[in-house]
């Protein structure tokens, strides 16, 4: 049972309890029930407007969960595709990740021991490796294809291959290969092509393409999905020949009984059986069991949950904005029905009955809007999935596969419905209590509310004291250590709020809460303050963005709410200077100042949504700017970094002498490459070994590493320059340079898996290097730590490296010549040096892919968060519609006093321009600020984010769209106000 499924009974129980309580209340308070439900039917158009306003929260929840389900399904698709029917795999994985061979007899012994096990459908002996393949028919090389050698008659349980023509094949015939679609595309291969396969032995093995097979469940094994160049399938004997594994295999594939996913349930028991079998086979030493499919499915589930969480947290701003809209709508409803409610109170209806009538009305809206929101969320989910499919240019991840993975689970809809319903209902209950507070006399006589008196509430001071104490305790408990940073930040905010509430008992509210507003903005918005008070050891996820965002926006709103009169007065003084505009400005700006609570709610909605949009856009801009910097740092100014499986003697000379290659490259730098063990203070830095580089000296100018590289240093001994450090490395045999990963406290052991702790290396530190092959060892002093970490390893003086036995030129930096294209140059080089197994990594292509991926992610998140704009627009629309009704007589009066229609229209537009632009301004400023904080935090520096960049054009677009939509929302009510006949407007009506 998944965690999602386990939540459903709880949610259903809560729903049942709410239903029973509501039914009980309806029976006991029939009058309130009748009034509440009649009000729902009062105006169809208003009910639709209300439901549209209320459904946003559920839509966001539903859309987020559906995106998560779809990502789950997509991952599941590729997991199942990649794992096929291989439920468990038995192999001996070396520290470098390759599979060590073991005797074929292990297979026969495992089969003999497990025969009769009803959970195992079959076991296949295989060879799985990476090979270089050259299609001699097309002339296209591919140095990185998967080779799977398995006999068809031993792997029937894994399913059949299906050719592109639809024919089923059990496996490749002897001496032939099946090529999957992806590999065929890479090689430009088709049936009948002649291939040369290069494995460990480097002796080419010829083979003919028997058929091109589909990337289906069988054809995609072992690694379907992203980053896969494709696979070729041979019989076992051919694979043994390619890899020189005579009488050996390197993998046993075990298939459980049942369907592809159904067999996973048996994985634990099958693994136990296999483990107990392996211990009895001496020749199987080192062979372990991996529950491939089960682990893959768990990872897929986790990835979907992470995506759901990301969308949900970013959607929280819109959910909060939606909740504020609900309160706003109910406050407006209450004002509209003030007379009726006052009369009901006058004839004896207790206040609680009014609350119940709102409750029942809200219950109907909540139920309806949650239902509608759940299904609108399906549309949003599909839209996001579609956007995802076109925004992420990952190779191997087809648009069709993404769209086919679009998943809507009934339980997801149920969860979204129940959460959305309860969230809306709780907000409605809060709003109902607020709305039912009315002065009977003023309500009946439709008298304006008097200005709020200066309130001094002792209980608020006690509440403030409690908040201050709780905040202090939370802050003290979490300010040091490694807890989530949002905890002390919340603690600090509670302290500020508590202090303001206590202070409001003694000083004017304006002073207390303006100070609190400023305090919120400074506390959540000033990164150096966090670093100084909280240190740098805290963890923090995306939730901190939500916490700081809410605190900062709340602070800005406090500042506005308690200073709106001064702000408006200031603006009016400005307007008075332009006599023609003064009357319009006075009418337009007096309303927001007169209704600070309503204006603050509208402002809050706009500020929250724009804050999220701007934060995401600025975050994307910053990441892109840093990607540019990062790749410049990582590449050292070169175009390619290359490896070869065999040393290439005088690569630069060979290229220079090759007529077609000579014009393609301007710089060719050979490097000595080897595997060593680095020891710092008796501590082995990497249990799997370290990479040692050295650049030979005496090269000509275009091959001299020391003068052609532009690798920047993070730190150098004595602060010497990069060129001085490189010169030292070239000439001094007792020094070394390391990449930035050695300055960290852990080493990633690959595959996104575990990390190994080690001491951080500092400049001036002595490290010991050993070549495990020769046993030679030496001690060198680190004189510099590079900023790059892509070409990870230790750089030695070439003489030192050679003395240790590192003298094979199997790594290279290359730069393309002016006029040459990177792709073409790489293809020519790979083809020319294919027999050495030359593989080239294009730094610029990596950059382009990263930028495209970032743009895709930012675009997708912006689309999602942009949905929140609907809340802002609905809020402004509701306020504007209400304003026309509420101010009908005022409009009549100003028209009677000489206002033209145009002036009324201008006044309405100016009023909403003021509110929307203020909200947009607050959101924009704080959105930029929070990303500035993130980019200047110690964590960002450690992650290589050094540059803060604001995408101004993107922000301008957000501003224009937000403002434009806001004006579109108020256009109709504003026109209606302008077109009110003065005689009708001044007449009192019921």
């Amino acid at each position: 049972m998944s965690s999602t499924d386990s939540v459903i009974p709880i949610l259903l129980f809560i729903l049942l309890v709410v239903g029973l309580i509501s039914a009980g209340l309806a029976v006991r308070h029939r009058l309130a029930f009748r009034v509440g439900f009649r009000n729902v039917r009062r105006s169809r158009s208003r009910t639709i407007l209300l439901i549209l306003g209320l459904l946003v929260a559920t839509t966001i929840i539903s859309g987020s969960l559906i995106v998560g389900d779809t990502i789950n399904e997509l991952d599941l698709h590729y997991t199942l595709l990649g794992a096929g029917y291989n439920d468990e795999i038995l192999s001996n994985v070396t520290p470098t990740g390759s599979l060590a061979p073991f005797p074929y007899a292990v297979y026969t012994q495992v089969v003999a021991s497990t025969t009769g096990d009803h959970d195992i459908a079959g076991i296949a002996p295989e060879i799985v490796s990476t090979v270089q393949v050259w299609d001699r028919s097309t002339g296209v090389p591919q140095p990185n294809l998967h080779l799977i050698g398995v006999n068809g008659n031993q792997s029937q349980q894994l399913g059949a291959f299906v050719t592109d023509g639809g024919q089923s094949l059990a496996g490749a015939a002897p001496g032939k290969v099946l090529v999957d679609d992806l590999a065929a595309s890479e090689l430009n291969a088709s049936a009948g092509d002649s291939l040369l396969l290069y494995g460990v032995s480097a002796i080419p093995v010829p083979a003919v393409v028997q058929a091109v097979v589909q990337d289906n469940v069988r054809g995609a094994f072992p690694t379907g999905g992203v980053g896969n160049f494709g696979s070729i399938f041979t019989d076992l004997a051919t694979a043994q020949k390619v890899e020189n594994f005579t009488g050996q295999i390197n993998l046993l594939s075990v298939t459980n009984v049942g369907s592809q996913q159904g067999g996973v349930a048996l994985s634990d028991s099958v693994s136990a059986t296999l483990n107990s079998t392996l211990v009895k086979i001496p020749s199987a030493a080192g062979v372990t069991v991996q529950e491939t499919l089960k682990d893959g499915l768990a990872t897929a589930q986790s990835a979907g949950s992470s995506i759901s969480t990301l969308f949900l947290v970013l959607g929280l701003f819109s959910v909060v904005a939606g909740a504020m809209l609900i309160i706003g709508i109910f406050v407006l409803l209450a004002e509209e029905r003030k007379g009726e409610m006052g009369m009901l109170r006058a004839i004896g209806l207790p206040r609680r009955e009014l609350i119940y009538s709102y409750y029942f009305e809200g219950l109907a809206y909540s139920a309806g809007s949650a239902l509608a929101g759940s299904f609108v969320g399906v549309g949003v989910g599909y839209g996001l999935t579609y956007a995802f499919s076109i925004l992420f240019p990952e190779p191997g991840l087809s648009q069709r596969a993404i769209l086919d993975s679009f998943t809507v689970l009934p339980q997801t809809l149920l969860i979204a419905y129940v959460i959305g319903f309860l969230l809306t209902l709780v907000t409605v209950v809060v709003a109902s209590r607020r709305s039912s507070r009315l002065n009977i006399v003023r309500a009946i006589r439709d008298l304006p509310e008097p200005p709020p008196p200066i309130r001094v509430y002792t209980y608020l001071a006690y509440l403030g004291l409690l908040a201050f104490v709780l905040g202090t305790l939370l802050f003290l408990a979490t300010h040091s250590g490694s807890s989530d940073i949002s905890e002390p930040v919340i603690g600090g905010a509670l302290m500020i709020l508590g202090a303001a509430l206590v202070a409001s008992r003694f000083v004017p509210n304006r002073v207390a809460f303006s100070a609190a507003g400023l305090g919120f903005v400074v506390w959540a918005g000033l990164e150096p303050l966090h670093t100084a008070l909280l240190g740098t050891s805290h963890t923090g996820g995306i939730f901190i963005v939500f916490v700081e965002g809410i605190i900062m926006v709340g602070g800005a709103l406090f500042l506005f709410a308690f200073n709106s009169a001064s702000l408006v007065a200031g603006l009016l003084r400005l307007a008075n200077g332009r006599s023609g505009r003064a009357p319009v400005a006075r009418v337009a700006l007096s309303y927001p100042g007169r209704r600070p609570a309503r204006t603050t709610i509208t402002l809050a909605i706009f500020a929250l949504v724009v804050f999220t949009l701007v934060a995401i856009a600025t975050f994307g801009g910053t990441i892109q700017a840093n990607l540019n910097n990062t790749v410049a740092e990582q590449s050292g100014g070169y175009t390619f970094f290359g490896f070869s499986s065999a040393p290439i003697p005088d690569l630069a000379g060979q290229i220079e002498r090759n007529a077609s290659l000579a014009s393609q490259f301007s710089v060719v730098v050979p490097l000595y490459l080897g595997g060593g063990n680095i020891n710092v203070s008796g501590f082995s830095m990497n249990p799997f070994g370290d990479t040692v580089f050295a650049a030979p000296t005496g090269q000509n100018a275009s091959s001299d590493f020391y003068t052609t590289n532009h690798f920047p240093f993070g730190s150098t001994l004595g602060g010497i320059s990069a060129s001085a450090a490189m010169h030292e490395l070239e000439t001094n045999g007792s020094v070394a340079v390391v990449d930035q990963t050695y300055a960290a406290a852990t080493t990633n052991l690959g595959g996104g898996g575990p990390t190994a702790p080690h001491p951080s290396v500092h400049v001036g530190e002595a490290i010991r290097i050993t070549n495990p092959l020769t046993g030679n060892t030496t001690s060198v002093t680190v004189i510099g730590i590079l900023l790059e970490g892509t070409v990870s390893g230790v750089w030695l003086n070439p003489v030192t490296a050679m003395s240790l036995g590192f003298r094979q030129e199997t790594a290279f930096f290359l730069t393309t010549a002016a006029g040459a294209t990177d792709t073409h140059a790489a293809q020519l080089a790979k083809a020319a040096f294919f027999r050495y197994g030359l593989v080239l990594y294009d730094f610029r292509a990596l950059l382009a892919q990263s930028i495209a991926g970032t743009e895709g992610a930012v675009g997708l998140l912006q689309i999602f968060v942009g949905l929140g704009l609907a809340v802002g627009i609905a809020a402004l629309g509701v306020v504007a519609v209400r304003a026309v009704v509420e101010r009908k007589r005022e409009i009549g009066m100003i028209r009677a006093n000489g206002f033209t229609r145009r002036m009324v229209l201008q006044a309405f537009f100016l009023e909403y321009t003021f509110v929307s632009l203020l909200g947009i301004g607050i959101g924009t400023a704080l959105g930029i600020l929070i990303v500035f904080n993130l980019s200047s935090s110690p964590g960002a520096a450690a992650a290589g984010v050094a540059t803060f960049s604001v995408p101004w054009w993107n922000l301008l677009l957000i501003l224009v769209v937000a403002y434009g939509l806001a004006m579109a929302a108020v256009a109709e009510p504003s026109l209606r106000a302008a077109n009110l006949p003065p005689a009708e407007a001044v007449r009192p009506t019921e």
Partner: protein, 225 residues
């Protein structure tokens, strides 16, 4: 002996504080007897409506003692006042304040339902009184489907249907034309005689006051005659 239903001693109502302080009632003393129909008149801003609001329990007096049927109004909390209003008082206002989502009969039965009268009985009594007020054909009409005079008659029916001890009417004819005004005034008088309720009518209209048993005039928060 004539029974006093409403009494007030030295009743003050002060709005605002400091420089903005305004005393709308300045030590009002009054006694209103059962079955009496009393008119309160006076210029705008003299405190008529404030008097009605404070003495009916819609608003709080700042100080002084108000008793309704011998019960000290200031000793009641909000729920008790609501209950008292539901059982013992009726209201008629210038703006009829009918619930637009309810029909005429549903509006009228509202106070009965609030007072706990069973649904069937409430409906019968409401239909009956609407018939007595000449609205037998309009019982299922919504307020928007009624004229101003008809709406005020529904409002009257709502005020009287529970046979309250006291009916408070604040400018009941203020929104009506001459004919409607006459009609409502006549009805008030007839109903007062028929049901024997105490009626307190705040009005500017001398013709309305002329139908009442007694007229009190207010000026600057005090009764002057």
């Amino acid at each position: 002996m004539t029974e006093v239903v409403v009494s007030g001693k030295d009743v003050w109502k002060v709005f605002g504080s400091g420089e903005t302080e305004v005393s709308a009632l300045r030590g009002v003393d009054i006694e209103i007897t059962r079955k009496e129909m009393l008119a309160i008149m006076g210029p705008s801003g003299c405190g008529k409506t404030t008097f009605l609001n404070c003495f009916s329990g819609l608003d709080e007096a700042t100080r002084g003692e108000i008793r309704l049927e011998g019960v000290d109004l200031t000793s009641m909390n909000d729920d008790a006042k609501s209950r008292y209003r539901a059982l013992r008082t009726g209201f008629v206002f210038q703006s009829y304040n009918l619930l637009p989502v309810l029909s005429a009969v549903e509006n009228v039965e509202m106070p009965l339902l609030i007072a706990g009268v069973k649904g069937r009985e409430a409906r019968e009594r409401s239909t009956k009184i609407l018939g007595e007020l000449g609205l037998a054909e309009r019982v299922n009409h919504r307020p928007s489907e009624l004229s101003g005079g008809e709406q005020q008659r529904v409002s009257l029916a709502r005020a009287l249907v529970g046979h309250p001890a006291i009916v408070w009417a604040d400018e009941p004819t203020g929104n009506l034309d001459e004919e409607g005004s006459r009609d409502v005034t006549r009805l008030l008088r007839e109903l007062n005689r028929q049901y024997g309720q105490t009626m307190v009518v705040v009005t500017h209209d001398e013709s309305v006051a002329a139908t009442c048993d007694r007229t009190l005039r207010m000026r600057d928060g005090k009764f002057v005659s």
